[in-house]
């Protein structure tokens, strides 16, 4: 098929090596005199041009995982152990100055609420120029030209005029486009998008999803998408990792996880989506709520809410059960179903 070369290119040769490799990440926060692992042994990989969605309820550690990758975990939280390789660099061993260079150039992040990430008393154009000149020695004029180009690329109408506007003068969708323009200004290898469309209306969300697809295809950017919205996941993700209580519960390709989920938590999440249910019939519920970090069960963390819980789930943390080359679930029930208990 002509016309879509960018999508297949990164699959070949040296690009095979993942852009992001996270191994056994543990990030802790103080709790009750000790420290609680909010992220507790998470491993992830994302290749160039690939979108990995990290899903789960609030309080599962999705955002802290993302912040850990760029070493943006707010104090007193800290990455306690594990390794993070971003475009071949060992993120956890970098000094503060080196890390600043890595952020932006190798990995950039956009957030749910662009208003809180933008400076209200500076024009949006100046903010992007500043971001560019923080990383590169370039003239103000050149940086301005590049900013306007970026604005055009992310679909901001009247890009030249918008350069001089303040954040409050822009709609939510335009502010998110400004954030994406800023994130793209250094051509990052990895873009972390934390609930990028959650605050947006559905028609604007569709525009931003299209933009993110375009970014991935054109620049072979690896994208870590964090969201609780499984519709957004289905639209954008290639692979999915489902997090529960600081750990990955299940991972697989988009089709595997959404069409053939095996972990009871994934199954419960999908069954509780109203648009998957038949009107009039009760929605499937997952009883209770995610326990707070520090109160997580010692066996399987989902044991207290699981409808198919076994005795051993309360005592023994489950091992990964491989279900295909790409799908794995950490679950004793799945182990039994697979005859591997």
């Amino acid at each position: 098929m002509p016309g879509k070369p960018a999508r297949s290119e990164p699959q070949a040769s040296e690009a095979r090596r993942p852009v992001l490799e996270v191994r056994d990440l543990v990030t802790t926060f103080p709790a009750d005199g000790g420290r609680a692992a909010v992220v507790d042994g998470v491993s992830l990989q994302i290749a160039a041009g690939e979108v990995l969605a990290l899903v789960g309820e609030s309080g599962c550690g999705k955002s802290v995982t993302a912040l850990s990758i760029l070493r943006l975990v707010p104090r007193p939280g800290r990455v306690a152990s594990g390794s993070i390789r971003l475009a071949g660099r060992d993120v956890l061993s970098l000094g503060v100055a080196e890390m600043r260079a890595v952020r932006g150039a190798l990995g950039a992040m956009i957030f749910q609420e662009p208003m809180t990430s933008l400076n209200p008393v500076q024009t949006v154009g100046e903010q992007v120029v500043e971001a560019i000149r923080l990383h590169e020695r370039t003239s103000a004029d050149a940086a301005r030209r590049r900013t306007v180009e970026l604005f055009e690329r992310v679909g901001i109408p009247d890009a030249d005029a918008r350069f001089d506007t303040y954040p409050h003068q822009l709609s939510g969708g335009l502010k998110q486009r400004v954030m994406i323009a800023m994130a793209l200004s250094m051509r990052p290898k990895l873009l972390i998008a934390d609930e990028p469309t959650t605050a947006l209306d559905v028609t604007i969300q569709a525009q931003i999803l299209e933009l993110l697809r375009e970014v991935r295809d054109r620049f072979a950017t690896a994208i870590l998408l964090i969201t609780h919205d499984l519709g957004v996941v289905n639209e954008l993700a290639d692979r999915i990792a489902v997090m529960y209580a600081g750990r990955v519960a299940e991972e697989g390709t988009r089709e595997e996880v959404l069409a053939a989920p095996r972990h009871p938590y994934t199954q419960g999440l999908l069954a509780s989506i109203p648009s998957r249910a038949r009107p009039g019939e009760p929605l499937a519920e997952i009883r209770g709520v995610v326990p707070s970090a520090g109160e997580w069960p010692k066996g399987c963390r989902f044991a207290t809410r699981c409808s198919r819980v076994l005795d051993r789930c309360h005592d023994v943390p489950p091992e990964a059960i491989a279900l295909s080359d790409t799908q794995r679930a950490w679950c004793h029930v799945v182990a039994r179903e697979e005859g591997r208990a």
Partner: protein, 334 residues
């Protein structure tokens, strides 16, 4: 009140006719009014007793203002709000009081609508005291316990404070508080939008069960079309202060007539892994409600607009089981 007698008591619990709620834009030293934000600009709605009507639309379309206007939390500029045969828009503050009991509202953010220093027993009992429900404190406590039980909370927790509960539990508290005064209509303004999907399922199931048990009528204000399809009997789609389409839920989803309804449905992400279907059919943003476009309000973004749309305002044309404000549905149109 003679006007009240004109509308017979019927199945219809609420009928809104030509509702306008405009907010003045003031400028300068003397706060001179220089224009109006036409948040709600000629809205008609009808809800039958025991039914769920969803009012959907994007932020800024005026759907929240509609809900607040029904309770006169915002003062309507014009129009009629027939509730059970009485025009609420014309009532004095004092005469409105009993209707504040009959219509309750549940908001998106339960933490913001609960006083953090108030025990939940007092939060739930507050409305009962206001409206003189329950003979004494002991009876009210009993009623608080019953209301909490109805929303599946443990009445023994009634002496706790809001921060001791999870987000889903807090929304249950808000629902218990609304139920405690025995309303007939509950306005749910994005009541499940801030919740995780598993918790949202619990609350939606609860609302559904309460409707069956108590014969409640719901006006469900939301931007979440998945929830609408699951829960609503009828849907009114709002754009820039007006209802652009109205009809039975299934028909709206399967055969939307207004180009805005179509675009809205097309933009909804699919959760079916066999297809990816979110399409951005619309460009740009919603125009400002202080200066709505002439003609059809949607014509500036409409993919099928023609010359007449920018010139003339479309009326309400009957379609299937409802109506649409679009010239494409005008029977007189060639």
């Amino acid at each position: 009140m003679s006007a009240a007698a004109e509308l017979p008591r019927s199945e219809t619990l609420l009928r809104v006719e030509g509702l306008r709620t405009w907010f003045p834009i003031r400028k300068g030293l003397f706060r001179k009014t220089v224009g109006h934000v036409r948040a709600v600009d000629g809205v008609d709605l009808e809800i039958r007793a025991g039914e769920t009507l969803a009012l959907v639309g994007e932020s800024g379309c005026g759907k929240t203002t509609v809900g607040r206007s029904l309770l006169r939390l915002e003062e309507p500029t014009a129009g009629r709000i027939w509730f059970d045969g009485v025009d609420l828009a014309r009532l004095s503050r004092a005469a409105m009081r009993p209707y504040r009991q009959e219509i309750q509202i549940v908001f998106q953010d339960p933490l913001a609508s609960l006083d953090p220093r108030m025990r939940i027993r007092d939060a739930v009992a507050e409305g009962m005291e206001t409206f003189g429900i329950g003979a004494d404190a002991a009876e009210r406590t009993e009623r608080v316990a019953a209301a909490l039980q109805r929303v599946q909370l443990d009445p023994r927790q009634m002496n706790r404070y809001p921060h001791e509960f999870s987000g889903g539990q807090r929304q249950r508290i808000c629902i218990a508080r609304a139920l405690a005064v025995e309303p007939r209509l509950i306005v749910c303004d994005e009541a499940t939008s801030a919740l995780d999907v598993s918790i949202q399922a619990q609350i939606l199931n609860l609302l559904h069960r309460l409707q069956d048990e108590l014969g409640l009528t719901y006006l469900f204000i939301t931007h979440d079309l998945g929830v609408v399809r699951y829960l609503a009997d009828r849907v009114s789609v709002m754009y820039l202060g007006q209802i652009v389409e109205e009809g039975r839920t299934q028909r709206i989803f399967e055969d939307p007539r207004h180009p805005y309804t179509k675009a809205l449905l097309d933009a909804v992400p699919s959760v079916d892994p066999a297809r990816r279907s979110a399409h951005a059919r619309l460009e740009g943003d919603v125009p400002s409600p202080s200066n709505p476009p002439p003609g059809c309000r949607f014509h500036t973004r409409c993919p099928v607009a023609f010359e007449r749309c920018g010139r003339e305002e479309p009326g309400r044309y009957a379609v299937a089981d409802g109506h649409a404000r679009c010239f494409l549905e005008d029977p007189a149109s060639p």
